[in-house]
């Protein structure tokens, strides 16, 4: 099992402690950047794209570092990404389905 960690050296329990703290600081900084971003006068697509990218970075940091996927068997990553991709794909499809002209509700028209 992958629970036993060497006491020192790269990938050891000791260096992971530092990795976790560094990642936490990165997450905090990114959150701060996001908060700044929404008040900046950039074009909307750029802001949305920026927010999505930043959130994705936070997301990936948490799953690969805090949740250990980087050091675990690849199969765990595969299982999770199946769910992530299906969930994300369904979300994308639903949002687009409701966005088409044929699906705009009458109550939304001025």
């Amino acid at each position: 099992m992958d629970l036993a960690l060497p006491a020192s050296g790269p990938g050891s329990a000791h260096s992971r402690f530092h990795t976790y703290v560094q990642v936490a600081m990165i997450l905090a900084v990114i959150t701060g950047v996001e908060l700044l971003l929404i008040f900046l006068p950039f074009p909307r697509p750029l802001l949305i794209g920026g927010l999505v990218v930043l959130s994705a970075v936070k997301f990936l940091f948490v799953i690969f570092i805090f949740m250990h996927l980087r050091w675990d068997r690849l199969f765990c990553t595969a299982v999770f990404f199946i769910g992530l991709l299906l969930g994300g794909g369904t979300l994308g499809a639903l949002v687009n389905l409701f966005n088409v002209a044929a699906s705009v509700p009458l109550t939304a028209h001025p």
Partner: protein
């Protein structure tokens, strides 16, 4: 020694390592292996599988009665055999019962009975969780059907419960609450069971059993389990939104509050389409085991069969709106979903060709399981043809909501899923009951079922193309539908009679059938290598697998390697437990109470669930050890 003697002997009981945390024993861990308590607290996958099967057969009969009442109402025009509202209850409950309470639990029964045996394991990965799934299934089944005994009546909004018919405005009584909450509870049962089987199939395979040596049925069980855990959350949320609309006044599907009922259709079918693959993939698995055995040839194209099964599962998440071609989604959406639906026909067709390829050049033995499997092949293919006709969105605009759809899905669900199950019951019956089902009556039942089924549903293609809508309570004599309905109803009675004969033969054979040995069909997979019925621990020694069709290889391969060593310390069997049953009882109490807006009782039910989870965690798996005698070497292969 008998099992009871083993358990009574302190020398054979395992103990916890003295330095580990001591379990908390507030509830007893029953030791008996017979009697009601043993069955209520069992964690043995074989007992759980048999109980799933028993409950499922009972609900199958209930669903069948509902179907016969529907058909009787339609035998002649302008009939008032049953009232209109009762008719709505009948078609709602027929669909809900057959899908959720008959076919799905029958497949669950086979997953439970077969998967550990086929992969060479002693049980599933989480035995108490397995028992929990069973009892929660029963709780959900009760919630769904309790309406028959209430003034509000059974659920009557269709098996797909479209909004806003399920809103408080249009269904003020408790029947819609029983439907939504019953299905939520059933969803929990399915998700938990599927998680268990994913871990079991991936992690508990015997040494040498690589994924590409796994029997096709176990592969289909794995893919079906993935489909379940991915699809069920969608309907769980959809039902949650209906429940919130009804109980908390939210606006998810309430137009006056800004909601859009069409969202229900989307969320339901995001679940609903993968659901039909959940219903059919296990049948693909049964047939993929039965055809090779009775053709005495390996399955044709194993890797392609596995890959196409996975592909069907995956693409199945991208076709849901083919149930909504007439809802005005726009040209692009209609085209996209039509193309995706047509694409799914490719891996499905490949599988059919591979089954035919399995038969080609084989030495065919026409036993009852083979007849049902061949019937599956033909009838499922016909259902697939009508499905392809639906996939063309313009054609579907006429077919949608007509009897053509009813014909299509009954061809795939009865001709496909049910014929697969009927084949599987005959095939694996000897393994779990130690006796074969009577061959002559089995064949008789096949022919009656085959004729009755086709007589019932083939005319429905024409009724649909002639414009008869689904869920029609009564029709006029001058619609031109009278002859078709008459034939369909007579066919339904014949189908019902055939199923009764089938069941009677099975029940009789369980007591008086010809005793079967370990391997009555000269099978290919590991379940045939152990006694019939299997001992509680399944394998005296966990086998080492050297090839695909592991048991066939063992029987016929001269150069057999050294036999696997028995485990030091004996075989560990987990203890029985009350916790899964109690947790399910809590869910039943909570669900029924919440449906009736009884907050106090609902919280009490929740409290029971939480308490039982704590007791479950603290009691630990427990366990005993047994030391069976070493098995005899396998009998020389029959030719």
């Amino acid at each position: 020694m008998t099992m009871a003697e083993v358990l009574a002997n302190p020398a054979t009981i395992g103990h916890e390592a003295p330095t580990d945390v001591r379990p908390v024993r507030l509830l007893p861990r029953p030791r008996g292996r017979t009697g009601l308590v043993a069955w209520l607290t069992t964690v043995d996958h074989k007992k759980i599988g048999l109980m799933y099967g028993l409950f499922a057969v009972c609900f199958f009969l209930l669903g069948g009665v509902e179907a016969l009442l529907i058909r009787t109402q339609l035998i002649v025009p302008n009939s008032h055999f049953v009232g209109a509202h009762f008719y709505s209850e009948l078609f709602t409950m027929h669909g809900t019962t057959m899908i959720f309470l008959a076919v799905m639990p029958l497949n669950a029964a086979f997953f439970n009975l077969l998967v550990p045996l086929q992969i060479g394991a002693r049980d599933v990965a989480f035995p108490r969780l397995n028992a929990f799934s069973l009892w929660v299934f029963l709780a959900g089944a009760v919630i769904l059907n309790v309406g028959w005994f209430l003034q509000a009546g059974a659920p009557a909004a269709g098996w797909f419960g479209y909004a806003p018919l399920t809103s408080k405005t249009f269904t003020p009584d408790v029947s819609a609450d029983l439907w939504t909450i019953g299905l939520e509870v059933l969803g929990l049962s399915s998700i938990v069971a599927a998680l268990n089987f994913i871990v079991t199939i991936i992690n508990l395979r015997a040494p040498g059993m690589t994924m590409m040596r796994l029997p096709v049925f176990s592969w289909m069980a794995l893919i079906t389990s993935f489909l379940l855990v991915m699809a069920m959350p969608s309907i769980a949320i959809a039902l949650l939104e209906v429940i919130f609309d009804r109980h908390f006044g939210t606006n998810f599907f309430e137009v006056s509050g800004g909601g859009q009922p069409i969202l229900w259709q989307h969320l339901f079918w995001v679940f609903g389409h993968p659901e039909v693959y959940i219903l059919i993939l296990p049948a693909f698995g049964y047939v993929s085991e039965i055809l090779p055995t009775f053709a005495r040839k390996p399955l044709f194209g194993y890797p392609v069969m596995v890959f196409s099964g996975a592909l069907i599962g995956f693409i199945g998440f991208g076709v849901w709106s083919h149930h909504m071609f007439t809802t005005g989604m726009g040209t692009v959406a209609n085209s996209a979903f039509a193309l995706a639906t047509m694409a799914i026909a490719v891996p499905t067709g490949v599988k059919i060709f591979n089954w035919v390829g399995t038969l080609w050049g084989g030495h065919l033995r026409m036993r009852t399981p083979m007849l049902f499997a061949l019937g599956f092949l033909w009838l499922f293919m016909m259902g697939g043809f009508s499905g392809i006709m639906h996939s063309a969105a313009p054609a579907d605009s006429q077919q949608h909501n007509s009897y053509f759809v009813v014909a299509h899905f009954h061809y795939v669900l009865i001709g496909g899923a049910t014929f697969g199950l009927l084949a599987a019951v005959h095939y694996w019956f000897p393994k779990f009951f130690g006796r074969k089902i009577d061959e002559r009556w089995g064949k008789v039942s096949f022919w009656i079922i085959f004729l009755g089924f086709n007589a019932t549903f083939f005319p429905m293609h024409f009724l649909g193309l002639d414009g008869m809508p689904r869920r029609t309570w009564t029709y006029d004599a001058d619609m031109g539908w009278s002859t078709g309905n008459l034939i369909a109803t007579l066919g339904a009675y014949l189908l019902g009679a055939g199923l009764v004969v089938y069941l009677a033969a099975a029940v009789w054979s369980a007591f008086r059938g010809e005793p079967a040995g370990d391997d009555p069909w000269d099978g290919r997979t590991l379940e045939w290598s152990i006694p019939s019925p299997p001992p509680e621990y399944n394998f005296a020694v966990i086998p080492t697998v050297r090839a695909r069709d592991a048991w066939w290889h063992e029987k016929h391969d001269r150069a057999r390697g050294a036999p696997a060593a028995a485990e030091a310390g004996g075989i560990h069997l987990p203890d029985h437990s009350w916790c899964p049953l109690i947790a399910a009882a809590g869910l039943l109490l909570g669900g029924l109470s919440f449906a009736h807006d009884r907050l106090g009782l609902s919280l009490a039910g929740l409290g029971v669930v939480v308490l039982s989870i704590y007791l479950w965690a603290l009691e630990g798996p427990g366990g005993t050890h047994v030391h069976p005698e070493a098995p005899a070497a396998p009998a020389p292969a029959k030719t």
